[in-house]
Symmetry: C2
Subunit: 249 residues, 2 copies
């Protein structure tokens, strides 16, 4: 029986540049009588990670380019915000209906290069971490040092998807967990090769954590307990579709 539990981590104070997320999470869990156990996956939202890493920009400091001004006019957005979106992007994948979908420097395809103004503060925008796999590694080391448990960490953001309305939380960085399970070559009980060969466990963990933490309650972390996973440092970068196999460029 592979029973899974998801515990939101309540009471984490406002994150500032330099905040030690590992310390804050272990401390907040202790206040509600919880502690981390070997094998737990600690899920941390991107915005908390970005704030701790100082990835916050004041829009008043941003000078929009001509290209940013044109795109901002077309999509009805703040030109300074669009400037940040373009700086974080390697290309614009689509734009329309007030949405700008880009491929970020990391390789993620998402709305607005992940740049976000909600829950940021007046006149501020939050950018994605420079290297979310590295962020996850750093948080994991801090959590392991403070808790004594052997852990995995998944850093998540909220992405839309084509063809379906709504958004799900997905993994943008991870450490201590291999994000895709490999069933390649395995066969079902009839001897057929399994159609599905790589469940994206880190993304499913991200979504499970969102169910517990929600959007409005300001809870930036959750603990997912009981998932069977493979330890490793492939990172979420190993999830990105290689360009030659990408049918949707």
């Amino acid at each position: 029986m592979n029973r899974i539990e998801v515990l939101p981590v309540p009471g984490i104070p406002e994150i500032r540049k330099g905040s030690d997320l590992g310390e804050l999470i272990v401390g907040s869990l202790a206040k509600v009588g919880e502690s981390l156990m070997d094998g737990d996956v600690v899920v941390v939202k991107q915005k908390a990670v970005s704030k701790a890493e100082g990835r916050v920009v004041s829009l008043s400091q941003v000078e929009p380019s001509r290209r940013a001004r044109a795109l901002a006019r077309k999509e009805g957005k703040d030109p300074r915000l669009v400037e940040l979106i373009l700086r974080e992007a390697v290309r614009v994948v689509r734009s329309g209906h007030g949405v700008i979908i880009t491929q970020t420097r990391h390789g993620f395809v998402c709305a607005n290069s992940g740049v976000d103004q909600s829950n940021a503060g007046v006149g501020l925008a939050v950018l994605l971490p420079v290297d979310p796999d590295r962020s996850a590694r750093r948080i994991r080391r801090s959590l392991e040092a403070k808790s004594g448990a052997r852990l995995a960490v998944v850093v998540t953001d909220t992405f839309g998807r084509p063809w379906r309305r709504g958004q799900t939380d997905v993994a943008i960085g991870c450490s201590g967990i291999v994000p895709l399970v490999r069933y390649a070559g395995r066969r079902d009980s009839y001897g057929y090769a399994l159609r599905v060969t790589e469940p994206a466990v880190a993304d499913e963990i991200a979504g499970a954590a969102e169910l517990a933490a929600g959007k409005l309650d300001g809870i930036p972390a959750a603990v997912v307990r009981g998932v069977k996973y493979t330890r490793g440092e492939a990172g979420v970068k190993s999830v990105l579709m290689p360009r030659r196999r990408d049918l949707f460029r």
Copy 2:
């Protein structure tokens, strides 16, 4: 505290045409000393639902069309399987690298119109349910009658996604739960409109269930307990992106 639990439902016998999934799930839970509670979301995999509904086709009965034979040759697939894929589809969205991505009659964009040979039996292929929201409704009624609890049901399948390797389980049908949470018009603590307005809870529930049930263990159902959701009968069809807003046709 919004603590969530995911319980796999072990010991469900092989599903046949006409099997009452509600009865099998309640019976299997009872054998491990569990019972359903008000608010539980029961997640059932598509293959079990399709088998119970008799959506199983013998490939030996399928005569491939000229178009199916040509596409099968191009993608290295069984022409009879490609014939079924095309019959289930309203259009081919992309094909390449041995993958045929279609839009199904329901409106889902997925590999092979959801037609699957794994865990089906020799020479057999399993098609998606004709109306997965209706399937979910039927299973919910049976589960509620047998358990006395007020429930939601999500029917799931395993879909790939553009730009990322691997697959996640997503909702293809639901009953008793509104699949998208509406935060439209809500504001964060700084007064900014929330960027993310519609978390796709039914899809996140589907992924959480997959973490517990896995791919290889033949467990077709899981119970997700503790999720806050809105009751309703909008169905997963309400999640499909309207054509006029679809940037990825």
